[in-house]
Amino acid sequence: MMNPLPDCSDREHSALVDSTLALLRAAEPRMGLEQRVLARLASAPPPSWHRRFAAGPWMTRWMLTAATGVIVAGTVTYGVVHYRGAVPAPVPAAVSRPARPLRQEPVAAAASVGVPEHPLHAAAMPARHRGIRRTFRAQHARTVLPPGTVAPSHPHLLSAPQ
């Protein structure tokens, strides 16, 4: 940093600072500060109860806090106990429902209707045709046409016989 006052020694700097600080030290209040302070204290309103409580000795504060806590806890406990005693426990309403039939085992149910064995439990079932084509062929017998007959490829397009 460039010093524009190179001839100003540290001692002079220090003297300058000291003379400025001496100004602060020499500051004197206006006459009668003590009387004004006392008058202000005399006219101050007394502290509110919470200020007095906060400024009070710690033992008093703790005792009052503990007593308040005990009172609150006791009130809550008393209220809870009495609330439980006044209201009876809820009873489920009696609703008549139709009697459900007894469930039978599958084998017993099949025997009751004259089937010796339940179809789901039958071990060997006859093979069935599966699929549309096989089913169609099984249901419709093949029609034998006379020789020389040309079968229409699209019979539904033929005109109806007059």
């Binding site: 940093m1 600080l21 100004l23 000795p57």
Partner: protein, 196 residues
């Protein structure tokens, strides 16, 4: 609503906050003694930061109001002077923090008023006041810790140990802060034109 007027003049007993504590009359007497003994010191502490006479006086009154609220603790206080200085110090710093948005007002007229009137002509007094105001502005530019230590050291009543108690630090820390503050201040003054 009642006031403390009667309590302080001895017409009414102070409200008993603690039965085992010092009697109310003794509390009032102790408080009055504190006011008479330390008002000027507290004023100087407040003035060193605020540099405003009215504000400094306000702070002194507020300090003793706080003492009044906590008068039950008076017997427990070992060093009332440091305790009071700490209260006023925190109050002034708090107020200054809240007023930070306001422009700094270096009241040169106040400085001229407190300048020693030793064969100084009016123009010399003004020049001197401006120079001191400039130094104070440079002090304000110091880091907070260094600035606080330097301002408290301006009060000759306070030793380094007491400054450490006010600032809640150690005595060696106060010494190093003072050293750094003066070194930085010398650098800043050196870079200022027209101070000398």
């Amino acid at each position: 609503m009642g006031t403390y007027e009667g309590h302080l003049t001895g017409l009414l007993p102070l409200p008993e906050a603690n039965e085992t504590s010092v009697p109310a009359a003794d509390q009032a007497a102790a408080l009055t003694a504190l006011v008479h003994e330390y008002s000027s010191t507290l004023y100087r502490v407040a003035f060193s930061i605020s540099r405003n006479a009215a504000e400094a006086e306000d702070m002194v009154q507020e300090t003793f109001l706080r003492v009044l609220r906590h008068r039950d603790r008076l017997p427990e206080i070992r060093d009332a002077r440091v305790w009071l200085i700490r209260i006023v110090w925190n109050l002034v710093l708090d107020r200054k923090r809240r007023q930070k948005t306001r422009p700094e007002n270096e009241d040169i007229a106040d400085l001229v008023r407190v300048l020693p009137a030793k064969e100084l002509r009016a123009d010399q007094a003004v020049i001197s006041a401006q120079r001191h105001a400039r130094i104070l502005a440079l002090i304000d530019r110091l880091p907070r810790k260094e600035r606080e230590a330097l301002l408290l050291s301006a009060l000759e009543e306070l030793s380094n140990g007491e400054i450490a108690a006010v600032l809640s630090t150690t005595e060696s820390s106060v010494r190093s802060r003072l050293f750094r503050a003066r070194r930085d201040l010398a650098t800043m003054i050196g870079s200022e034109k027209g101070l000398q």
